[in-house]
């Protein structure tokens, strides 16, 4: 993969970071799509109020019962870990540029911001049957190492993202935010593994990345469609009516993802392979849980 993160893009990311810092600053790290109200963040303990504590962290229920000020403390450690999960399955090779490339670029940009905002960033991927984690990177200087890690990620088998997420939960990995960039075609398996993930100490964001060719099929006439993952083939005649029908189905497909994300408190975003990275980032970092995105 060729990273487009040259000097110019680095400067653009830096400008984005400054802008986002002022508008999206929150508890601890500032990756905004992650729930920051405290409801979904890991709660650690109460402690007595000391001058200087923010009033919004005072537990008013305890004050009502005990007539004393207690402040709720959250696990700052959990918020400072960021797991990037790019989908590297065969279906991500579709599109021009390939969705895989766009996913890695997107992860590279998110990772840059995460490092800049104090996160410890790791990449979760599969090799063979096992889930692997890259070394945790922290500090702004580690961004190039992170990108190097991204550039050398191996291709994965179908359903690799589900496998990664399942393994991540079962491993001894510390809690942290999970950013998933995938086309989401493996919908059943993903839903199964994502269900309840945020409540288990993993605030999650799911970025559905599709190719323009998948959103607006450019072909006409008789086509031989080949599934990139299963290799199944289907000969179809594609005309305006077929394209319209496909568009309706795609809308339903995306709607299903959005509904699921809403239900599971997962931040949801949508993008395509040809959108500029910074446009995608602005949109994705402003997400609230189950935000449907603009293009869906």
């Amino acid at each position: 993969m060729k990273f487009p993160f040259n000097e110019e893009f680095l400067q653009r990311l830096e400008r984005m970071r400054q802008v986002l810092k002022s508008t999206l600053s929150g508890e601890g790290a500032g990756l905004h799509p992650i729930p920051q109200s405290g409801e979904a963040a890991p709660f650690r303990k109460h402690r007595s109020y000391v001058p200087g504590d923010e009033f919004r962290h005072i537990d008013w229920n305890l004050y009502g019962r005990l007539d004393r000020f207690f402040v709720r403390e959250f696990s700052r450690e959990a918020k400072q870990r960021l797991y990037l999960v790019p989908d590297l399955s065969p279906s991500m090779s579709v599109g021009d540029p390939a969705k895989r490339d766009q996913a890695l670029r997107l992860c590279g940009a998110i990772g840059y911001l995460g490092l800049a905002w104090g996160f410890k960033v790791r990449i979760a991927y599969t090799r063979g049957d096992g889930m692997l984690l890259t070394d945790g990177r922290s500090g702004e200087r580690a961004v190039f190492q992170l990108w190097e890690d991204l550039a050398h990620l191996p291709n994965a088998s179908p359903s690799a993202v589900s496998h990664v997420l399942r393994s991540l939960q079962g491993s001894s990995a510390e809690d942290g935010q999970i950013w998933i960039v995938s086309d989401g075609w493996d919908v059943e398996s993903l839903h199964k593994v994502l269900r309840g993930l945020p409540g288990r100490g993993y605030p999650t964001a799911f970025l559905q990345l599709l190719a323009e060719e998948e959103v607006f099929p450019p072909y006409d006439g008789r086509v031989r469609l080949t599934d990139a993952e299963s290799g199944d083939e289907r000969i179809l005649f594609v005309g305006p009516e077929e394209r319209q029908h496909y568009s309706n189905r795609l809308k339903q497909f995306t709607e299903r993802w959005r509904a699921f994300s809403t239900e599971q408190q997962i931040a949801f975003g949508f993008g395509t392979n040809r959108e500029p990275i910074d446009t995608l980032l602005y949109r994705l970092l402003a997400l609230r849980p189950a935000d449907t995105g603009e293009r869906a």
Partner: protein
């Protein structure tokens, strides 16, 4: 329908490629998708689009095939044939005048012409009709399958001495009776023959007249043209240049006839046009000696104006050798036409029949020719030494060459202008030298006894008055001088006058008052030739323009059709894309 470029019709073989390409485009296009789940059950859907697409595909292929066909047809240059009846009527005219009976080792020129005609006839379809015109107009219709050899031989025997002019005039008068015309003549240097042949070509020009020439000295016409069995390459080239130089003639085919080298008895040196204006260099070697009579025959043909310097100067050793051997006692200097001058050195001129008919100037060994051609009269200054053994010398026995210096240029303003007659110091020699306002000149002088009058030779550098008319002028001058009468030159026959020689297009009339009137050129020909100095067969003339326009419009129809079909194809595809 006939085709200007029928070989391009082979492009129609590309049509199957168009169909195959369209079928190839029909194959399912391979597309890799991330998942097939959204495309499930599409195959089982009723597909009304498919039923619409198939006719559209068929229509597209049909339109593309038609467009390519129309394009190929347009490229092949279709030409309407409503004016060209089928089968074609050919008229093959063979000149059987004297010069055609000149014999070489391979036979006479007439035999060569017959060989060429048979070759041409072999290529004609059986359905065509051929009219064989021999000399005086003896003609018969036959098909190419007839016994042509016999007919040729019969025709050749029928008339042995016929003027090509009469033959061509006959053809001209009957030009509506044939579709294609081939004239086979040795084209002795006579401007009149050229004129009429070219007018024939011009008037019968059907899109293209074909003139070609092979290496063996034979020029042929295909569809309609002139076939020349030329005596010299330079003559043949001059004629072809006149024809093809009009711009209306397109060489589209070539006969491959091999004619053996003719007149081996006469060593021939042709001077190319590159030498015009430079001294003529004639070469003669012992190998040129005629073994039959041990003489050195030499025919030198050159275009005018060529200063002849070789006599006495350029080849003194040759002349000296000839004289010492006693092989040469006569030299002839002949200024025959406005296109070719011939200098003949030899003592065997009896074997050249045309020379017996043509006025010549005969000079002795010490003859010096100054400025031959060059738009000025020939001046002969050498004393003559006559050879009484040759019968034709009597023709010029009375000539007094020194008095030819009396040539005086006159200005003549065209038909209707009286021409004063000139005589030599002895009151017998007749010289007419005319300078035209255009700068051209016409000179006629010499003597003949053909019609009981004296005549001579002439040449002209005036394009509108080539040698044919100069000859008539010369004749008329001779007659008028003989009788001491006045001469008036006109382009139309006078009323109540007696026709003495020729006909209404070029004749000599005796008027009631005893004077003479020479008709040098009929008014219509005059207008044709003088209209902006264009040839009557020019593409600019009405008939040619009409023919060309019709052919172009026919071609344009096909081009427009092809473009229309292509646009329809593109429009349908564009709509489909939209």
């Amino acid at each position: 329908m006939i085709w200007g470029a029928p070989e391009l019709l082979y492009l129609l073989l590309l049509l199957p490629l168009v169909v195959m390409f369209s079928l190839w485009r029909l194959r399912p296009r391979p597309v890799t998708v991330g998942s097939l789940q959204l495309w499930q059950d599409f195959v089982e859907r009723p597909a009304p689009i498919r039923r619409l697409q198939r006719p559209r595909f068929t229509l597209l292929v049909l339109l593309q095939v038609m467009a390519l066909s129309a394009l190929v047809l347009a490229l092949a240059h279709p030409q309407p044939t409503r004016d060209v009846p089928e089968p074609l009527r050919w008229s093959i005219a063979i000149d059987v005048s004297d010069s055609m009976f000149l014999h070489g080792e391979s036979g006479s020129r007439l035999e060569e012409a017959k060989t060429a005609a048979i070759k041409i006839l072999d290529e004609l379809p059986e359905s065509d009709l051929v009219r064989l015109v021999i000399g005086s107009g003896v003609s018969r219709e036959m098909s190419p399958g007839d016994a042509r050899q016999e007919l040729f031989a019969r025709g050749a025997r029928g008339e042995s001495v016929v003027q090509p002019l009469a033959l061509l005039r006959s053809l001209h008068d009957n030009r509506a009776t044939f579709d294609r015309f081939i004239w086979m003549s040795d084209h002795e240097p006579r401007g009149d023959v050229e004129d009429i042949a070219l007018i024939l070509v011009g008037e019968r020009l059907d899109n293209a007249a074909i003139v070609s020439v092979d290496d063996a000295g034979l020029a042929e016409g295909g569809k309609l043209g002139v076939c020349v069995v030329a005596t010299a390459a330079v003559q043949r080239e001059l004629l072809l240049e006149r024809i093809s130089g009009s711009g209306a003639v397109e060489v589209v085919s070539r006969f491959s006839l091999t004619i053996p080298e003719r007149t081996p008895k006469w060593a021939s040196v042709d001077v190319s046009r590159d030498l015009v204006g430079s001294p003529l260099r004639a070469r003669l070697s012992p190998a040129d000696r005629n073994p039959k009579d041990d003489a050195y025959p030499l025919v030198v043909s050159a275009v005018r104006p060529v200063p002849v310097e070789w006599v006495g100067d350029a080849h003194p050793e040759l002349v000296a050798a000839l004289q010492a051997a006693g092989l040469v006692d006569i030299r002839m200097v002949q200024g025959l036409s406005n296109t070719v001058n011939t200098v003949i050195l030899g003592d065997d001129v009896d074997s050249v029949p045309s020379l017996q008919m043509r006025p010549v100037v005969v000079a002795g060994p010490d003859i010096v020719v100054e400025g031959l051609g060059q738009g000025r009269p020939v001046v002969v200054t050498a004393p003559l030494r006559w050879n009484d053994q040759h019968p034709w010398t009597s023709v010029v026995r009375d000539l007094d060459p020194p008095n030819l210096r009396e040539v005086r240029p006159l200005t003549w303003n065209g038909p209707g202008d009286a021409v004063p007659l000139l005589t030599d110091a002895m009151g017998r020699e007749l010289i007419l030298a005319v300078e035209f306002p255009s700068g051209g000149s016409l000179v006629a002088f010499g003597f003949d006894t053909r019609w009981g009058i004296r005549t001579g030779t002439a040449w002209s550098s005036e394009p509108s008055y080539p040698i044919f008319w100069a000859n008539w002028l010369r004749l008329a001058v001779g007659v008028a001088d003989r009788d001491g009468q006045s001469l008036r030159i006109s382009d139309r026959p006078p009323a109540d006058a007696e026709l003495l020689v020729g006909d209404s297009t070029s004749g000599l009339y005796r008027l009631e008052d005893g004077g003479y009137s020479a008709i040098v050129r009929p008014r219509e020909m005059q207008e044709l030739l003088q209209s902006g100095m264009r040839r009557p067969w020019s593409p600019d003339d009405g008939q040619s323009r009409k023919i060309v326009k019709r052919a172009q419009s026919t071609r344009m129809y096909w081009v427009v059709l092809a473009i229309g079909l292509l646009m329809a194809t593109w429009w349908i595809e564009y709509r489909a894309e939209a």
